[in-house]
């Protein structure tokens, strides 16, 4: 399978990366080279093979249902959560207006 410029533009839009015409033109052959190369995986007979979900067997753990059990990742850290925000107002992350 290969991709054309329209498809690459669609993928870039799905990935929320704005791309100009020149960049799209450059990406098309680069992505196709990679896609052509990974195509060889189709040769492998994978009937009756389960896809990998965990590489090292490990059971998922449960934790006690306690609010803010971990002081590092618990609540009441508003200032620290907002410390790196490009724009914060009134204790919230600020973004451009979404609804007209």
């Amino acid at each position: 399978m290969s991709v054309d410029k329209t498809q690459v533009a669609k993928i870039a839009s799905l990935a929320r990366i704005s791309m100009g015409e020149a960049e799209l033109d450059r990406m098309v052959p680069e992505l196709n080279n990679i896609l052509d190369w990974v195509e060889q995986l189709g040769e492998v007979d994978t009937a009756n093979v389960e896809p990998t979900t965990a590489v090292i067997a490990n059971a998922l753990r449960l934790r006690a249902d306690v609010v803010d059990a971990d002081p590092l990742t618990g609540g009441n850290l508003r200032e620290r959560v907002l410390a790196n925000a490009p724009d914060a107002e009134h204790g919230f992350f600020a973004v451009p207006k979404v609804i007209e």
Binding site: M1, V38, L41, V55, N58, R80, P96
Partner: protein
């Protein structure tokens, strides 16, 4: 007077513990070495004050008669992929430039608890995506090694290129690395140092900038096998904050080091012998077999039939996970925001990510988005995960015939900066020998075994069973003891 920059992890720790010198003296010496090697561009953010502060804590503990940790007084370089509280953490990207974490990664926290100090944040390929340290927003790292009689700048490997260059140039006795598909082992090989990626789950991923979560593992890079064993012990351990962290005790890897391989079987995978292989790499591999045989091991031929499919499977799985992980960089919560005049929220996302990500990161996010998109998911992603199962099965079957596997680390020695940067596929092939162990989650290490005809170091790779870091380190030690690798780059940098 001792030149402290000549000392490794064990020597510094023992010297500080024994009171032969202070952590402060060591930190000062390495801080000066870092300041005197800016032309390597190994560090994005040097933190001499942090190193001095960490050293003072260790010296105060010693004065108070407290027991000192496994890394007591050892100043290290920290790959700039680990979140460090109060110190800029960039992942070598523009999108995270200026990001100052409010928290500490578990791995770095463990190292500081063990008495290590931080010389600074090391350069890397952007988001750890690259094999030559040429995708960093903060410029290329230059390998301290040069070909004999040449001043052509060579790559230190990637993605942990700042780490490998810093250790090889002796401006840090050791450094952290991360390995997703060879990012510890390949740079270690290119710089003539040791590096080990442990079993997936040994080191917590909490606070490490995520690239491909099912593959990412932290590990140490240092001048010798013992130093790697010590530092890995300090980095590893169960962490409830990482759902894939292994809830197992950390073995005393340093204490159990032994270069006696009697009774061990070393597998040589025939599929790693590729057409057109560099004869010097092949010769190094043969030399490795002889060394392990001399250490008492039996060498056997094995087969890992799906080897050739590992790299293409990796280049579906890793970008797929990356496209998902990197969705968080949206210009809202941290990092860069690009807000063109009159732009709405969606435009802001797209403009931020366009300005903040480099070309290789964009390429991988696009590939990942494509292989996960409706209609292509099964053909690409599911098929790659099935091939991954077969690759892991190849290893599982091999373990009935051998205890460890010996292979080259890389298909070549370090190459000139710029040589492969225009050809993503040629760059990807650097990791052909490293990726299979990553896909199977196995511990694997690179140790230097000698110089090629151009005077550049070559590495040998040892792959072990899951959780058998000891077996890997011991085989590494056996090679190290016999290779007698004491070559070092002649100082040209300033």
């Amino acid at each position: 007077m001792t030149d402290y920059t000549e000392l490794g992890v064990a020597q510094i720790r023992d010297g500080v513990r024994g009171g032969y010198f202070t952590a402060a003296e060591v930190a000062d010496a390495f801080n000066a070495a870092v300041a005197g090697a800016t032309s390597l561009n190994a560090f994005i953010t040097p933190t001499p004050d942090v190193a001095v502060r960490h050293a003072a804590l260790v010296d105060a503990d010693r004065a108070a008669g407290k027991e000192l940790g496994a890394m007591a007084g050892v100043p290290i370089g920290m790959k700039d992929l680990f979140a460090t509280r109060g110190v800029q953490t960039t992942a070598a990207s523009h999108i995270l430039e200026g990001f100052v974490p409010e928290y500490e990664s578990t791995v770095s926290h463990n190292l500081w608890s063990a008495g290590a100090g931080m010389l600074g944040k090391l350069n890397l390929d952007q988001f750890a995506m690259g094999s030559s340290n040429e995708t960093s927003y903060f410029g290329n790292v230059v390998n301290p090694w040069r070909r004999t009689g040449s001043d052509v700048a060579l790559t230190p490997g990637g993605s942990s290129g700042g780490s490998s260059a810093a250790v090889a140039a002796r401006i840090a006795p050791a450094a952290t690395g991360t390995d997703t598909g060879g990012s510890i082992r390949q740079p270690a090989a290119f710089a003539g140092i040791c590096g080990i990626k442990p079993t997936y789950g040994r080191c917590s991923r909490w606070g490490t900038v995520a690239f491909a979560s099912s593959l990412d593992q932290a590990g140490p890079m240092a001048r010798d096998v013992r130093d790697c064993a010590i530092m890995l012990g300090a980095m590893a351990g169960f962490d409830a904050k990482d759902s894939t962290s292994l809830d197992l005790p950390v073995p005393d890897w340093e204490g159990a080091l032994s270069a006696d391989l009697k009774g061990k079987r070393v597998g040589i995978p025939r599929e790693y012998r590729m057409d057109g292989m560099d004869p010097e790499i092949e010769a190094a591999w043969d030399k490795g077999k002889t060394m392990l045989r001399d250490a008492g091991a039996e060498v056997v031929d094995i087969s890992l039939p799906h080897t050739k499919y590992a790299l293409p499977a990796y280049y579906i799985i890793a970008p797929a996970e990356a496209s998902s992980n990197l969705a968080r960089y949206d210009g809202v919560r941290y990092g860069l925001r690009e807000l063109p005049e009159g732009a709405g929220l969606q435009d802001m996302y797209a403009a931020t990510r366009a300005a903040g990500f480099g070309d290789e990161v964009k390429r991988r996010v696009l590939i990942g988005t494509y292989v996960l998109s409706a209609g292509f998911y099964d053909a690409y992603y599911t098929q790659a995960q099935k091939v991954r199962t077969l690759i892991a099965r190849d290893f599982a079957e091999a373990w009935s015939e051998c205890d460890i596997i010996l292979a080259p680390t890389t298909p070549s020695a370090a190459f000139p900066l710029g040589e492969k940067s225009d050809d993503p596929l040629a760059m990807y092939l650097n990791d052909v020998f490293a990726v299979p162990a990553s896909l199977a989650g196995l511990p694997a290490m690179s140790v230097p075994c000698g110089l090629n005809g151009q005077g550049l170091p070559l590495g040998l790779q040892i792959i072990g069973r899951e959780l058998d870091e000891q077996g890997v380190l011991n085989a590494g030690l056996a090679i190290e003891a016999r290779a007698g690798f004491d070559a070092r780059p002649e100082k040209w940098w300033g």
